[in-house]
């Protein structure tokens, strides 16, 4: 490729990727889920008071709804909220920004690891392109979900680490170590991923450190020190346990329980051993792990609606043949590098790829596009390698042109389809999943409140108080002063005249009751409805008669 053309394309891709992450940010999806809102409000509270919603000063773990969130994204968010004010755009801004920077990092990382000069630029360029338009990355870059920041840090760390090894500069290695260790403070699955991945990096650079034992100790010590803060915090560990499948075991053990009963009746000791629950758990873990490679999840359906565009999976369907080709190509390179006893970075990509779902597989709801986001950018690198593999397979120039035309054409169609589905249909198709109506309810409640009425949000709203705080920009100082969020565990509590939970007895004639369901009480009359685009009712406000 000519240099000027290359620079032009390079810039275009960066712009395209950034555009896809920022265009209509905060408007698509047009509502936020409760974790995003909690992030936004806590960051706002930090900014105003230096405390979280519970009044804890500069916490290391945010209690939030009792799910004990890790702190890094909260603190990053304070900056964008300071600049753009407390709103959806600002809350999601850091994620979109880091997602956009990651596009560049993918290029840098791949050109660091791809050894063959001839194809280096092409592979790096293609990886970057596929990452820039990746539905998976775009989805999570446009949400205030912490995982995207974690992915960014891992990617940054890997690039700096490889660069440090190549140019033999210690400062790169130090920053890389800190960056990877920091990801542990972003989201829970990193607690497993980051040490495993870091260990792999060290193994991979074994030859380098063999001659530099002091540096090796420093780096390991640094990594451990960075991790100490969360290891000593028990709340941070508790969250991990609550989502694992062992806490939801009755269904998993259904068949083996039946079998065990039968063994006990017949006195078969070996049989009883086979249906031991530990064996079943191992089986379940592997099943969850492998579920992250199910073609339907990857290419057709995805998992939760909040994790993908309507009618789309996480990767482009037409990427499939290239990904497979890339994997085979990479396997060949890896095996050959093994037989030459030379550890090429290809091993690293496979290690990254196979470590990615290790933590996610522990959860009861596997596979999860969110928890396994660290897969990125390995799928895109495979795809880029797949193009190279096909290229080296086809000698004739004309055939190559045909392959490029067909492959690129199909991918382009797939890209258009995704962009359309995402930007045109997310808000209409998935508005229920994104809890459309909560923000509108808050606005309505504030109108009524200023008219001097009491408003109650029924308990069928999920974590409504945080939406109320966020969308009315409720002053954190006075919120904390009035007791903060430790009250949310009560069956009914209030913030001024706004009530949350089972508060019907506290209401009198003329007050407002809001619910997403049809209430059983008879003494009410609907006065306002908030509708989904398909005409169904999202929320109804009632006046007490």
């Amino acid at each position: 490729m000519k240099n000027k053309l290359f620079i032009l394309l390079f810039a275009l891709i960066l712009i395209l990727g950034t555009f896809l992450r920022f265009w209509q940010l905060g408007k698509v999806p047009d509502s936020m889920d409760w974790d995003e809102v909690a992030l936004g409000y806590n960051a706002y509270s930090l900014l105003q008071t230096g405390k979280d919603e519970y009044g804890v000063s500069h916490p290391l773990v945010f209690k939030s709804f009792g799910n004990y969130e890790l702190p890094l994204y909260f603190y990053i968010d304070t900056i964008s909220i300071k600049i753009f004010g407390e709103n959806e755009f600002a809350t999601r801004f850091p994620s979109a920004l880091l997602g956009s920077i990651s596009i560049l990092l993918v290029y840098l990382f791949v050109s660091e690891f791809f050894y063959e000069e001839k194809y280096r630029r092409t592979v790096s360029f293609l990886s970057m392109l596929f990452f820039a338009i990746s539905p998976w990355s775009i989805q999570f870059s446009r949400l205030a979900f912490e995982q995207n920041t974690g992915m960014f840090l891992i990617l940054l760390g890997s690039w700096l680490f490889l660069k440090g090894l190549r140019v033999k500069k210690i400062r790169y290695l130090i920053i890389a170590t800190i960056s990877i260790a920091l990801s542990v403070y972003v989201y829970h699955s990193a607690k497993l991923f980051a040490p495993l991945f870091f260990g792999t990096l060290l193994l991979y650079s074994f030859m380098f450190f063999k001659k530099r034992k002091n540096l090796f100790s420093i780096i390991i010590l640094l990594f451990i020190v960075c991790n100490i803060f969360w290891l000593t915090d028990k709340n941070s560990v508790a969250r991990g346990k609550s989502v694992t499948f062992t806490s939801h075991s009755s269904q998993i053990l259904q068949i083996s329980t039946k079998e065990t009963i039968q063994e006990e009746a017949s006195g078969d000791k070996i049989g009883a051993l086979l249906h031991n629950r530990r064996l079943v758990f191992v089986d379940t873990y592997i099943q969850n792990y492998l579920s992250h490679f199910a073609p339907n999840w990857l290419f057709i359906t995805g998992d939760l609606n909040r994790h993908h565009a309507p009618g789309m999976g996480l990767l482009y369907l037409f990427s499939l043949p290239f990904i497979v080709a890339g994997m085979i190509f990479l396997t060949r390179e890896t095996l050959e590098s093994f037989s030459k006893r030379k550890f090429l970075p290809f091993v690293l990509i496979f290690a990254w790829f196979f470590i990615a779902p290790v933590a996610s597989a522990l959860a009861f709801d596997s596979p999860s596009a969110e928890r396994s986001l660290t897969f990125l950018p390995t799928w895109q690198i495979f795809e880029a390698l797949g193009w190279i593999a096909l290229f080296s397979l086809v000698r004739s120039k004309n055939y190559r042109r045909i392959i490029i035309a067909i492959g690129a054409g199909l991918l382009f169609i797939n890209f258009i389809y995704f962009s359309h589905q995402y930007f045109a249909h997310t808000n209409t198709d998935f508005e229920k999943d994104w809890l459309y109506g909560y923000k509108q309810s808050v606005q309505f409640a504030n109108q009524e409140k200023s008219a001097g009425k009491k408003v109650t949000f029924a308990s069928d709203f999920e974590q409504m108080y945080i939406y109320y705080l966020f969308f009315s920009k409720y002053d954190p100082k006075s919120y904390i002063a009035s007791g903060g969020s430790s009250r949310i565990w009560q069956p009914c509590f209030n913030i001024d005249n706004i009530y949350f939970g089972d508060c019907l007895p506290k209401l009198s004639k003329g007050d407002i009751y809001m619910s997403t369901k049809i209430p059983s009480a008879k003494n009410m009359k609907p006065i306002k409805k908030i509708y989904y685009t398909n005409g169904q009712t999202a929320v109804t406000a009632y006046e007490i008669l």
Partner: protein, 551 residues
Amino acid sequence: MKVFDTITKHYRVALFLIVFLAAFLRFYRLDSVPPSMYWDEVSQGYNSYSILKTGRDEHAELFPLARFAAFGDYKAPVYIYADVPFIAILGKNTLAVRFPSALFGTLTVLAAFFLVLELFSSSKNKILPGLLAAFFLSISPWHIQLSRAAYEANIATFFTVAGVFLFLRSIRTKSWMFVLSAVSFVLAFYAFNSHRVFIPLFVLFLFALFRKELWTMKKYVIVAGIISFIVFIPFLQYLKTPESKLRFNEVNIFSNADIVKQSNQWIAEDSNSAAGKVLHNRRVLFGLLYAKHYFDFFDPKYLFFTGDGNPRFSLQDNGELYLWELPLLLAGVYLLCRKRNREALLIFGWFLLAPVAAATARETPHALRSETFIPTYEIIMASGMVGILGGVRRFGGKVKYLAFVGFGIIGIVSFYIFVHDYFVHYGVIYSYQWQYGYEQAVQKVEKIKSGYDEVVFTTAYGRPYIYVLFYGNTAPNQYWKDSTVTRDVFGFYTVSKLGKYVFRDHMLDSSDKGKKVLYVGAPNEIPSNFKKIDEVKFLDGGGAFVIAQNT
């Protein structure tokens, strides 16, 4: 590894042992595990019996060729005819009905060995992959389960494997075996519904792969073509009838109204713009839906952990393949890809075509309809294993022995778990799914029915008449004379009366007044004021049938 050299040297012994193992796993307690015969098995058995005694099927049609009407589901004919000699020899019982499936299942293991030999005929080591493929097939949970019930697909699988073997053999030796191969493919085509789509596509693919060789043996191709055409005539006539599409229309995904609704909704959301109409064309959505059903067959959960959702095809907590086979599978895919020869292409083509027919149906993944996969998985794994052995040979150290022992232990334990669960637990937990109790209930009733004017038999478990025919003493021509058969809107046959038997969904009826009636119903159907005479229980202890009389 020396062990494998020894095995290769004495491959006849090894092959005999493998086939023996396969036969044992397919015939041992064939009549009692699975515990009883489900509808389709009994229906096939009775039609075979009817053919044997009268030359006509249950609907009194003389030697049906293209299909058997049976319940109105139009069964493929091969199994029913294949079963006739076994019914003649072994009698009208479970063993005889299942015998062909177990037999052809065992033969498939043998055929797979010869197929691999033929496939890798140009390479110097072809015995070991052949033995390994046969071995993997002999212990395959997927194939064992389908070989132990009267599944038509299992015969179709044998003829497919045999057909490919004969095809390759005839190409290599330029011989008349080509005609036999054609006959084998036609039989597979006639044996199971999925193969009616799969076989034509697959044969086309084979022709494309071997077009050059086929051109040099035109005369065999022409003879085979003529013979195949003649054999196809009955089917072509059948194809013209609406009933041939009945089963397909009933199960296919392309009649899914939700897709059309979704398409319309998206088009409307795009304010009916032209671009929206192109992007959200229902054909695009049906294409994606088909891809989803196709990919279902490659879902790791289905393949390695739970198997088919239907308990008649799987233990529910055991996959269609063993988990330890996964690394072999990946190695096999990689090595075959690297070979980049026509044989590898043949295997991959077969593998990718295998679910093409089954993916058009609503219930996916479906182990039975996709038995076309067999034995591609086994061949790929065998190639993988051979590759790993070759690779390991070059790297020294005792670690490799340790690795092999470890791998062997995992393999043996998971094989033991499967066999244990299958023979000990499976029948007990899922006897309901196998319509357990019909046989016992009918036999009990047959003994005492002479004392009653009428026997009312519940339809709660579906299609009771076929069990009364199979396990009772009604002769075929007596059945034709003395029964009431109707067809419902979906084209299914319903038998409401057969001799003394009345089949209905309720027990009490005003027409019973003044008669002495014997009632056979599910426990919750029998009114408490009836006099209970006997009962039949499912194997897990739940109530299946209560036999009672009105007082």
